[in-house]
């Protein structure tokens, strides 16, 4: 395979920019085109996304996104560590909603190992995943508002997110890098006090979110900045591989929670917000509606959550409790084997995907029956969603580029993996 060097990549980018369809140019343009390098250090590119823009005045003629500034080689690293050891690394994928990634990964490994977590653990996972979705959408909406210039909404969003992070702190012991799920369950139980607090938070959240929405929806400048900007059709959205809120904003009612129910989502009553416009405003509306739906789901989860164990009793696959390890011989042996040699799932391959806040997060794992995966591929939603940026920004203005990137809501942690 040809080795990629810096010198060989750069001409490729220039080639892509120049070779791009440039029919928007005025024929007698007085050589007024220029190439603007937006990012990786730029306040509006959500991390380290680099966009090369070919501009005619303020109008974007072509755009090439360049990824890889946050590449940490997680897929390769996964091949050299046991299934349990990889859990903390899933936090660093979509770092705005770590518990959702934990859940996605745990479900994939459990599917591979052929085990199922107890019902209470599954409910807790759902609870955490929905709280993470709220977290993520609050940041997404806030960042979108910030990109078009309304900073206040961003901070109001962070204020609400802070309260959710406090719950993560109580439940998982960490605000941000939760590493909460275990193979076969979750690390610790959620107390009834915490659940009461979560309900209290949801009660006040709806009111606070109404306040945020009033500041945006009633604002003509905000609506005009987003309406009709970055439109993507249903067909293009599917072709590019859009998933999540971005796809639903283009009129495709596709949600993995409904399409391939996992955990107990089939028992939950929730709507899938779908808009048909496919512009930035529709993507914002989908997220706002999903926030409310998530709040509704959290209520139902806390209503329905059963009592019981939060870890599966399956000695060969699931880590035993520490109290038992220190008192019983069998458990000590199992602990030693699992920690040192891994859970050794059967030979085979598995693809398991969940509906993450950003879209479909899938783990494709190939096992050779060893303690570590032979190959792991992470299908991250942001990576697929970023593909749409060149398509969306063509013919728009610089100010629209930041609005479009904000409405796509890419997280470079998972796009670069």
């Amino acid at each position: 395979m040809q080795k990629l060097t810096k010198d060989s990549v750069h001409p490729k980018i220039v080639q892509a920019l120049l070779g791009a369809d440039s029919h928007i140019t005025i024929d007698d343009a007085l050589e007024n085109e220029m190439i603007l390098n937006m990012g990786p250090q730029h306040p509006a590119t959500h991390g380290v996304l680099r966009l090369l823009l070919r501009l005619d005045g303020e109008t974007v003629i072509a755009c090439v996104p360049e990824l890889g500034y946050l590449h940490r080689g997680y897929e390769k690293m996964a091949e050299n560590m046991s299934y349990l050891e990889f859990i903390p690394h899933t936090d660093r994928l979509d770092y705005i909603s770590p518990p959702a990634n934990n859940v996605a990964y745990a479900l994939a490994v459990e599917k591979l190992a052929g085990i199922t977590a107890p019902p209470r653990a599954q409910y807790i996972r759902m609870l955490l995943a929905e709280l993470a979705r709220m977290c993520s959408h609050l940041v997404a909406i806030g960042a979108l508002a910030m990109d078009v210039g309304a900073l206040t909404v961003f901070l109001w969003g962070l204020r609400e997110r802070e309260k959710i992070l406090d719950f993560f702190d109580v439940i998982c012991g960490a605000r941000f890098t939760t590493s909460y799920t275990r193979i076969g369950g979750v690390a610790s139980d959620v107390t009834s006090d915490t659940m009461k607090n979560i309900i209290a938070f949801i009660d006040q959240f709806e009111e606070k979110f109404d306040e945020m929405e009033r500041l945006l929806n009633g604002n003509r400048i905000f609506v005009e900045r987003l309406e009709g900007v970055g439109v993507i059709s249903k067909e293009d959205a599917i072709d590019i591989g859009f998933t999540g809120p971005n796809l639903r904003a283009s009129g495709v009612e596709f949600d993995l929670r409904r399409a391939t129910p996992y955990l107990f989502y089939n028992e939950m009553d929730f709507k899938i917000p779908t808009y048909t416009e496919g512009d930035c405003l529709a993507r914002y509306f989908v997220r706002a509606d999903e926030l409310r739906e998530s709040a509704k789901i959290v209520r139902q989860i806390i209503d329905k959550i059963p009592n019981g164990e939060v870890m599966l009793n399956s000695p060969k696959k699931v880590l035993p409790r520490k109290t038992e390890i220190y008192t019983k011989m069998e458990e000590l042996i199992h602990d030693f084997m699992i920690v040192n040699f891994g859970i050794n799932p059967p030979v085979g391959e598995v693809y398991s995907a969940v509906e993450n806040p950003k879209g479909e997060l899938g783990f494709y794992i190939v096992s050779k029956g060893e303690g570590h995966p032979w190959k792991m591929k992470i299908r991250s939603p942001s990576f697929a969603n970023i593909q749409a940026i060149p398509h969306l920004v063509k013919g728009q203005m610089i100010s629209d580029v930041v609005a479009i990137v904000g409405s796509i809501d890419p997280i470079m942690g998972e796009a670069d993996k």
Binding site: L36, P43, V148, G149, T152, L155, I398, S399
Partner: protein
């Protein structure tokens, strides 16, 4: 009067003119210190934060600390910049905002220069700021700076048109371009202010009232654009152009831009209050006149003038932390398709009322 006071005190015209010329600088410096602190506090309280709390009571000395830090910072000049223009630009920008203060009557006792073309002079000299910004954008040799500068030039020049038309509307009613005369026309009773139709007797005042309100709104919107404040802060839109025209500036030169922005904010607020809200006049008589101390009146006037200016500056901040920013084409649409025609029709109607 201040000039005469110092001339008598020191017996030298040179010293007296120097001191009375330096007074606005002191005022700008003090006001900027206050306004930056206010900006941070206003934004903080709107966003459920506390803002600066550590340096002094509720952080009121924070700006001093910041300015000290900025002055101590290394003055970086990138290697590919046009050195001469790069160094002139901040000074020119600051000069433009500072020179505008010369014709602003702070009180009946202090106006830098009571020239008869006062308000026109302010508009003209504020235009120098654009030259400084363009210079900064060009000399920085940075694409983002250039974009910011070009956007700023287009914006400021476009929005000067509605501003001037509204100013003409007021001038048609009062019959003078001299800001002191404009202020004196609006007496120290708030119902005589231009926003309420001015000190004109009879039915004309009532007919003028709605058109004056329209005029004020247009003037205020344009003044936001001229000072590059949200929702018209596209020249320095931090989420698009990083820092706009001052991306490459640091240290004391950045401070100059910073000072200039806040000085400009006060200048346009002062013009708005002088044209429509009675300038330095108190809304309800003077305490000094009441108790027979006539020397108290100018001080009261200065107080009212600062309060009015600070209030409009506060409204600017309020808008900044509430509204998103417009796109370039929307900005131009607003100016050319809405503000200018409305301002022009408004002007014609007011002129017609005055003729009748």
């Amino acid at each position: 009067m201040i000039y005469d006071f110092f001339a008598n005190l020191f017996g030298s015209d040179v010293i007296a003119s120097f001191i009375s010329g330096a007074l606005p600088v002191v005022f700008i410096a003090l006001f900027t210190l206050f306004a930056v602190w206010l900006e941070r506090k206003v934004s903080a309280h709107m966003q459920d934060r506390l803002g600066p709390m550590r340096v002094g009571w509720h952080g009121w000395l924070q700006t001093f600390a910041d300015i000290l830090k900025l002055i101590q910072k290394e003055d970086i000049t990138a290697s590919d910049t046009d050195k001469k223009l790069f160094n002139i630009a901040p000074v020119l920008t600051f000069m433009g905002s500072y020179a505008a203060f010369a014709a602003i009557p702070f009180s009946s006792a202090y106006v830098g220069s009571g020239i008869d073309l006062g308000i026109l002079y302010i508009v003209a000299v504020s235009g120098l700021v654009v030259a400084g910004i363009l210079m900064a954008g060009w000399a920085s040799n940075n694409k983002y700076s250039l974009y910011g500068a070009v956007r700023s030039a287009a914006q400021v020049i476009s929005y000067e048109i509605p501003t001037v038309i509204v100013i003409l509307t007021v001038v048609v009613v009062i019959g003078s371009l001299n800001l002191t005369k404009i202020t004196e026309f609006q007496t120290s009773r708030f119902w005589d202010w231009m926003i309420f139709g001015g000190s004109i007797a009879g039915i004309k005042k009532l007919i003028l009232l709605p058109f004056m309100v329209i005029g004020f709104v247009i003037l205020y919107i344009s003044s936001l654009a001229e000072t590059n404040r949200t929702p018209f802060d596209i020249p320095e839109a931090e989420s698009e152009l990083v820092g706009g025209y001052h991306t490459e500036y640091s240290g004391i030169k950045f401070t100059m831009f910073f000072l200039s922005e806040y000085a400009n904010m006060f200048a346009v607020s002062a013009v708005a209050s002088a044209l429509f809200f009675g300038g330095y006049h108190s809304p309800f008589g003077y305490f000094g006149n009441l108790i027979g101390l006539s020397w108290l009146v100018p001080i009261e006037q200065f107080f009212w003038f600062t309060i009015k200016g600070a209030f409009f500056v506060f409204v600017q901040m309020w808008l900044r932390w509430t509204l998103p920013r417009l796109r370039v084409d929307q900005l131009m649409t607003l100016c050319w398709k809405y503000l200018i025609p409305i301002a022009f029709v408004n002007f014609l109607i007011v002129a017609l009322i005055m003729v009748l």
